[in-house]
């Protein structure tokens, strides 16, 4: 019974992630694209919680759904405010991208299959206290670099976006 529920939850999250990703890739409506991105990011956060990474799931929701997605919506509103009617996304010819994306995905799945077959997710993971010890211990350099990157990004955003509109 527990296995059925676990498998059902996995495939429910997978369905959400794939539908969201498909909407981002295929829809012509720019607001639906943003909505699809939100669904996919929420499904990813659900996956993180599914594997026992509660803090990571919260970080995903706060940073991506609460931050990046709102940023995307603001960018859409700022950029498309002068265009007449409902904004639509254009796409190029589809045959070559389909072949490239499907081929690369199949190749990756084929190459990763042997490694994944050896692994069984256990759903056991460390909590925030253990993560903080990791970030301020062995991963201190990456943690500091990420902080510096955020500071640089902030400066770049102010420099690039702070000018007057023409």
């Amino acid at each position: 019974m527990r296995e059925i529920v676990t498998n059902g939850l996995f495939w429910l999250l997978a369905l959400g992630a794939l539908v969201g990703a498909g909407t981002v890739a295929l829809t012509r409506d720019v607001m639906r694209m943003a909505l699809g991105l939100g669904v996919m990011l929420l499904a990813l956060a659900g996956f993180f919680a599914y594997y026992g990474f509660g803090f990571l799931a919260l970080a995903e929701v706060f940073v991506y759904v609460g931050g990046v997605l709102i940023l995307v919506l603001f960018a859409i509103m700022l950029v498309h405010r002068t265009t007449a009617g409902r904004p639509e996304l254009e796409s190029r010819s589809r045959i070559a991208p389909i072949v490239a994306a499907a081929g690369l995905s199949a190749l990756l799945a084929f190459m990763l299959q042997p490694a994944a077959a050896l692994l069984e997710p256990t759903g056991v993971a460390g909590g925030p206290a253990a993560l903080s010890r990791l970030l301020l211990g062995p991963m201190l350099l990456a943690f500091e670099a990420a902080g510096a990157l955020l500071l640089i990004a902030l400066v770049v955003i102010v420099a690039v976006g702070g000018g007057e509109a023409e």
Binding site: L44, A75, E90, R94, P97, A101, A146, E166
Partner: protein, 101 residues
């Protein structure tokens, strides 16, 4: 195995969107989708490998760094989009030919 398939499918959909879109915002959103696939695989496999070696924690730490880097990338990218749209009144890649050789 199903985790690998789902991750690769998400990555493939993101790649397709990146290749097919003409609008910069659409491309940025597709890149975020592309990042989601490997991130999911990293976390899923990190929860599977020997926990005594701290692999689950390492996967969590690396995934957290990926989230930060992706957030910074999206923020800078969207700031550039807004700046470009102010200048050219368009976000279509085909209209951005100023630095074309």
């Amino acid at each position: 195995m199903s985790l690998v398939l789902v991750s690769c499918a998400i990555f493939g959909l993101g790649l397709y969107g990146t290749l097919v879109r003409r609008d910069i915002i659409g491309i940025l959103a597709s890149i975020e989708v592309m990042l989601g696939g490997p991130q999911l695989l990293l976390v899923g496999l990190g929860a599977s490998i020997d926990h005594s070696a701290g692999s689950a924690l390492n996967a969590q730490g690396i995934a957290l760094v990926i989230i930060v880097v992706a957030a910074a990338e999206a923020a800078v990218g969207l700031a550039l989009v807004v700046a470009v749209a102010r200048r050219t009144r368009s976000t279509r890649l085909d209209d951005l030919t100023e630095v074309k050789g």
